[in-house]
């Protein structure tokens, strides 16, 4: 287990390194206005060049990269240029990460409980009414643009339930709808996959053997099928936090939640290159960490992995 974890960790680090490099190089292609902010229009070509040079953006690319690695290693994400000029990005993020994390985790938790339950119910009543209702829900979530139903929920459900429209940190009732809205998509995908894996497992030989030895179907469900079906889900569990990104972009914008999703849209619209860069790195790192944790989690659940699974494509 330890050896496997270390191997995976090393692998993740390599991937992370490559991603950081790729992202950094990609972002050199970003519009250069993004480095000046409001001053851009006031400056002439020579002044702009001077500033870019002073920022090190005219250095040879490998020098830039080295510098960049250095600052990343020392935990320095740079400073914002436009969004909040001169403010260290780390400081901007520090205030926002807790919100994103809170809503992301809550959403994952809700969708996990709701989605897995729904998936199990669907698998158990395959082709019957619950299955069809569940499928209807999954298709609906995937078909109707999130931008539309999120807004709908915000405007109408708040009215019906008499909940506040906007998020207020000190009013827990204003936390409910955003968290639930954010979990809708995850619920659908968990339900879909859980159903699929359950059905797969139910058709396996060991279930027949378990039946043949006289185990009750409830016991089979609990002791065998559920656990085995959950293993492939476990792998993706940590990284599903990431799938709340697009959800969080909508939700945070709609409910005035000061999280990172809203920030991303903001800095993109304002072309604050350094913050965009930092956010992309953070999200990518979360992605890698998520997959790493997922693999470790799966290894915990599935004894085969340590020995059999080689790295590579997941």
């Amino acid at each position: 287990m330890l050896r496997y974890s270390l191997k995976r960790l090393a692998q993740s680090m390599v991937t992370l390194f490559i991603i950081i490099t790729v992202v950094f190089l990609l972002l050199r292609l970003m519009p250069e206005e993004g480095y000046f902010g409001q001053a851009y229009e006031k400056l002439d070509e020579a002044q702009r060049e001077a500033i870019l040079t002073s920022m090190g953006l005219r250095d040879p690319i490998h020098i830039q990269l080295l510098k960049f690695y250095k600052s990343i290693l020392s935990g320095d994400l740079g400073t914002s240029m436009i969004y909040r000029p001169k403010v260290p990005i780390a400081e901007i993020l520090r205030a926002k990460i807790p919100y994103s994390l809170y809503f992301g985790l809550t959403a994952v938790l809700i969708s996990l409980v709701a989605g897995v339950s729904l998936g199990i119910i669907m698998a158990k009543s395959k082709s019957k009414i619950w299955d069809k209702l569940g499928t209807g829900y999954i298709v609906f979530i995937n078909a109707v643009p999130a931008a539309v139903y999120y807004l709908f929920i915000q405007l109408y459900v708040t009215d019906i339930l008499k909940l506040p429209i906007l998020f207020k940190p000190d009013n827990p009732s204003s936390w409910i709808l955003p968290a639930i809205s954010m979990s809708l998509g995850g619920t659908a995908s968990y339900a879909m996959w859980m159903r699929r894996y359950m059905v797969d497992e139910l058709n396996k030989d060991y279930v027949r053997l378990a039946k043949a030895k006289g185990l009750k179907s409830k016991a089979i469900m609990v002791r065998h099928v559920f656990r085995n079906a959950f293993v492939p889900m476990a792998q993706y569990l940590p990284s599903t936090l990431l799938y709340t990104i697009s959800g969080s972009i909508y939700i945070e914008s709609l409910y005035s939640i000061p999280g990172m999703g809203g920030l991303l849209v903001d800095v993109i619209q304002r072309q604050d290159n350094t913050v965009v860069q930092a956010l992309v790195l953070i999200y990518s790192s979360i992605g890698i960490i998520g997959l790493f944790l997922g693999d470790i989690l799966m290894a915990l659940f599935d004894p085969r992995i340590n020995l059999q699974k080689k790295g590579g494509a997941r």
């Binding site: 991603i19 931008a147 993109i268």
Partner: protein, 326 residues
Amino acid sequence: MGNKKINQLADGITEELTEELFEFAEFDEEEAQRAGYSNYSYWRSTWQVFIQNRVALFCLILVSLLVVFTIIQPYLPNQKLPTKIYIDEKTNMQLRNHPPDSEFWFGTNSIGQDLWSRIWSGTRTSLFIGLVVAIWEAVAGIAIGSLWGYVRVLDRPITEIYNVLDNIPVTIVLILMTYILRPSLSTIIMAMCITGWLGMARFVRNLIVIIRDREYNLASRCLGTPTRRIITRNLLPYLVSVIMLRMALAIPAAIGYEVFLTYIGLGLPVSIPSLGNLINEGRALMMVPSLRYQLIFPAVVLSVITISFYVMGNAFADAADPRNHV
């Protein structure tokens, strides 16, 4: 033909078994085969299974009609231009927010453009994006996936590339690409294409790894069949179901991303009608009952397309899976 005669005989007999029946019958080898699998054809069987799914069949017809309609719509009589602004005769001003009637079937938008033709024009744009991305996904995904899975030397490098791309969330890649390249139709398509092939390639690769060492492929290789031929003849047919499913899902996904990008301001310019733009414009009117039609019509069209492709894709995947054939 021998059997035919016997059948006629059989109609006549009751309990009485005549001696005559205890003669040897002629042997018909074809008949022997037919008893097992009567004129089986993979595609016909796929099709038959598919059309048995009434909902899927309905969706197929619906989508076909929709696609055909979006293509021919501009050439139909009495169609309006999607970008033309209509002027109210009485006030000589734009026919703003005109509710649906016999003239403007879906009403007009806030500057007097015909929503009916805009929706179809938008559907064209969005379907085009979806289709290009889906085709790319299929072509690139299968090509890379096949090489990845089949050519052992390439396994490692492609795996690394895959890991890198897959580790950055798709949303982020999309945002980043449209950000760097600046919003336009080609940018959107390109951004989606960059990540689009990943899932398909992985799927294809995994399936190929599973089946490449099956006996019939070993046999082929022993017979000196070239790799390309083994991939196209032995492996790909097996993958058809998965490929169809993913392609069918790629179209609604691409449309979904387009809506998303439009929302965050990286979509198509508002002067180009697309479902993303129409929905985004309509969204602002959600709280205005009399104008809500401007949201509902495009949203319904979008949902119909997405749901249909979902249902169809799944039904087809089921139908194309050889294990579901009898």
